[in-house]
């Protein structure tokens, strides 16, 4: 179905007339911000310091597991994390970077039921696999040290459901991709948009497991999204 815009001319016409002018659809320039405090946050941190800050925030503020390991230690680390969460079924994102790290294959040696998100399967099959999985494993584009956040970009092979439906989310992120804050992640999206690229249909900034404080303002972890989260920083990547 052709995407449509309804009722725009009359809407904007009425808006402009209330402002006492013609509709303006061209030539507006964004004024520079009066202050730039967002560029100062953790500006002089090394990658190691950013990783430390990320993991510290994860433990203290998000009550989540955060570990750092080398590529060589990755398999062992993942097996131990999945064992800790008593994983039955595991779903792994179809992300090439996870395939290159041989994540699904290493887990298959230890766990009976490991499914990789598969673009050749039907929608319902993938969703059902993710629904039944205890653990979902994804690869983050970036991580934000200030807020303990993993940045995920959706794509055909990285379904949104992998980090959403299973009880536990495990995020892998290269240490080189840790940035101070959302400022640097927003820039990536800004640059794409300015280059005229279509953005991924879903970009998620995820900080820990799902939570709520809707009952007496008491924080409860695990509402509709995952109940647990674990971050794995790959130090030599």
């Amino acid at each position: 179905m052709q995407a449509k815009i309804h009722n725009r001319d009359s809407f904007l016409g009425s808006l402009a007339s209330k402002l006492g002018r013609e509709i303006n659809t061209q030539g507006v320039v964004r004024p520079p911000l009066p202050h730039n405090p967002h560029h100062d946050v953790m500006a002089d941190f090394s990658q190691q310091q950013l990783a430390d800050a990320l993991l510290e925030f994860t433990k203290t503020n998000l009550n989540s597991l955060g570990v750092s390991c080398t590529k060589a230690e990755l398999h062992e680390t993942l097996i131990s994390i999945c064992t800790g969460f008593r994983a039955g079924k595991i779903v792994v994102s179809g992300d090439n970077r996870l395939a290159e790290l041989d994540v699904a294959n290493c887990l298959k040696l230890q766990f009976d039921d490991v499914y990789t998100w598969d673009v050749d399967q039907a929608h319902a099959v993938n969703i059902k696999q993710a629904e039944q999985a205890k653990v979902g494993i994804v690869f983050a584009e970036q991580a934000l040290a200030e807020s303990g956040t993993m940045v995920l970009h959706s794509a055909a092979s990285h379904g949104r459901s992998v980090s959403l439906l299973p009880e536990t989310s495990v995020f892998l992120v290269p240490q080189s991709q840790i940035v101070p804050r959302i400022t640097q992640a927003a820039k990536v999206l800004h640059d794409k948009a300015q280059a005229g690229e279509r953005l991924p249909s879903c970009v998620n900034f995820i900080s820990g497991p799902s939570s709520t404080a809707d009952i007496e303002l008491i924080k409860v972890v695990g509402v509709h999204g995952p109940i647990h989260a674990a971050y794995v920083v790959i130090a030599d990547m």
């Binding site: 995407a3 815009i5 309804h6 009722n7 725009r8 809407f11 904007l12 009425s14 209330k18 402002l19 006492g20 509709i23 303006n24 659809t25 507006v28 004024p31 009066p34 202050h35 405090p37 967002h38 100062d40 673009v119 993938n126 969703i127 629904e131 934000l144 200030e146 794509a155 055909a156 379904g159 459901s161 959302i182 927003a186 999206l189 800004h190 794409k192 948009a193 300015q194 279509r198 953005l199 991924p200 249909s201 879903c202 970009v203 900034f205 900080s207 497991p209 799902s210 939570s211 709520t212 404080a213 809707d214 009952i215 303002l217 409860v220 695990g222 509402v223 509709h224 999204g225 995952p226």
Partner: protein, 499 residues
């Protein structure tokens, strides 16, 4: 539910609510915690005022060029494959959404928390199509199963209920058998409605900020329900107030940073999600169809009025969490889905003075809200403006206007004023009995009803002041000012220096 949540008159609502001691304690505790969390987060970030100034300027720039950014946004949503509907009224918005429901023959809709869909009364429209609608935010869900109890806070809608009340509601309505432990109840809801997300035909969300440069909408959430509602159903409808827009992701950074800290005291909430159009052609999940409904519903009139600044609002509730009036009367007293200072300014603008004329008076003009607002909205000034406007429009009660007119008349002539005060001084001791007047005069009636008047001694303040003992007066002045033996011509000297 639409904007208006109660038919009971304002003062009765307040009286009723003030009886609810749990609610009052809970609101006071909540305010303290949320205020503290916000303050800690702002302090930790540092340069908070620079951040606020950035936020204010971004919002002002957008409002000044709203037609430009709405045009750009709609172009980019379309380019990403999404539909855009511009709705001047709430009926146009609900008609458009109702058409989609009918066209898809939808039987189930899952919603994530959205104030603007409350404002347009969307749920009733969905339900009249024989279609079930489930509010999936936990707070909204509690209220929905409790026969649509109105919200009392724009971020924590069920703040007025305690765990035992919630347990009771769940037991009666959804067969819950567990304890009143918040975690146990939360997990029960998780299991209870998970299937609804999978079965739903349509997911409906609000929009915290739309990003004009890419046609994206952002959702700032914690529970994961908005992610489910935008990932699993085949159709996603997002409804936004037309002012909720930023030019680019660079401004989104600033606004989200301000919003999360101001609302919950965190650098970011659990999920900040940016959705761009429907799923891409080879994506496995995400909606196949995306509709963005952009709502005016009175906002363009506000934009052209002296209340324009209120449109900078990002719905963080920092003002609600700091307001002493809200603390005492609770959110439901406002009778609007928008409570606290923001509600008292916004409700009369969107819903009219007929229904919300009392709200600008639910304020002591202490200005605490101005100081915490992340986009520097002068909320208390706007509340005062409402009062001025109602006086000019003669909306205030007749008795009040008559009292104020009489006061103005007496106050316009010093002679008349002196006579009135002398007479008043003599009459007052004869009519005030046990601290009460026989009649309560319009504008000050509530004040005189609530307080005991002192027993007058027959003299007006002015005549007492003129005749008071000069030595005593000197001592009193010295105590107040620290100046001993003030020169009688102190002030005229100052005058001369200035000249």
């Amino acid at each position: 539910m639409s904007m208006k949540t109660s038919d009971v008159i304002f003062k009765q609502r307040i009286k009723d609510q003030m009886q609810d001691s749990f609610m009052r304690k809970s609101v006071a505790n909540a305010q303290e915690r949320m205020f503290t969390n916000r303050q800690l987060a702002a302090d930790k970030l540092g340069n908070w005022d620079e951040w606020r100034e950035n936020g204010k300027q971004i919002r002002e720039h957008v409002l000044d060029n709203l037609d430009y950014y709405l045009h750009q946004l709609s172009e980019n949503v379309q380019k990403a494959g999404g539909h855009v509907f511009f709705a001047e009224t709430s009926e146009q918005a609900t008609d458009y959404i109702e058409n989609i429901i009918q066209e898809k023959n939808a039987k189930k809709v899952v919603k994530s928390k959205s104030m603007v869909t409350e404002e347009i009364g969307l749920n009733a429209v969905i339900q009249r199509n024989n279609c079930e609608v489930i509010e999936t935010d936990l707070g909204e869900y509690i209220l929905q199963v409790d026969d649509c109890d109105p919200p009392s806070h724009i971020v924590v809608p069920a703040l007025h209920k305690n765990r035992e009340q919630i347990r009771g509601v769940f037991e009666d309505k959804i067969g819950y058998k567990g304890s009143s432990d918040p975690e146990e109840m939360t997990r029960f809801v998780r299991e209870h409605i998970r299937h609804d997300f999978i079965e739903a035909d349509i997911g409906i969300t609000g929009c915290n900020f739309a990003v004009a440069e890419s046609g994206s909408i952002s959702l700032v959430t914690n529970e994961g329900n908005a992610r489910l509602a935008t990932s699993l159903p085949k159709v996603h409808i997002a409804v936004m107030g037309m002012e909720r827009i930023v030019p680019t992701f660079e401004e989104l950074d600033i606004m989200v940073s301000l919003l999360c800290r101001s609302a919950v005291g965190l650098p970011l909430t659990g999920y900040v999600t940016a959705i761009t159009g429907p799923r891409e052609s080879n994506d496995m999940d995400g909606a196949e169809e995306f509709h963005l409904v952009i709502l005016d519903n009175g906002r363009s009139d506000i934009l052209a009025s002296e209340f324009k600044d209120i449109l900078r609002c990002i719905r963080c509730a920092a003002c609600v969490n700091t307001c002493p009036a809200y603390r005492h009367i609770g959110g439901q007293s406002y009778g609007s889905i928008y409570s606290g200072p923001i509600g008292a300014v916004l409700s009369p603008l969107l819903g009219g003075y007929d229904d919300f004329q009392d709200l600008p008076y639910a304020c002591s003009l202490c200005q605490a809200c101005n100081d915490v607002c992340p986009v520097k909205i002068p909320l208390s000034d706007l509340l005062l403006k409402h009062r001025e406007k109602m006086v000019i429009k003669k909306i205030t009660p007749l008795a009040e206007r008559m009292t104020v007119s009489a006061f103005n008349y007496l106050n316009s002539s010093p002679k008349l004023w002196n006579v009135a005060m002398k007479v008043g001084g003599k009459v007052a001791p004869k009519v005030i009995k046990d601290g009460k007047l026989p009649i309560n005069v319009g504008a000050v009636a509530e004040w005189t009803e609530a307080r005991d008047l002192p027993q007058p001694d027959g003299e007006s303040f002015r005549s007492w002041f003129a005749n008071r003992d000069a030595a005593d007066a000197g001592k009193e002045l010295a105590a107040v000012t620290g100046i001993v033996n003030p020169k009688p011509n102190l002030y005229s000297n100052t005058d001369k220096v200035e000249k």
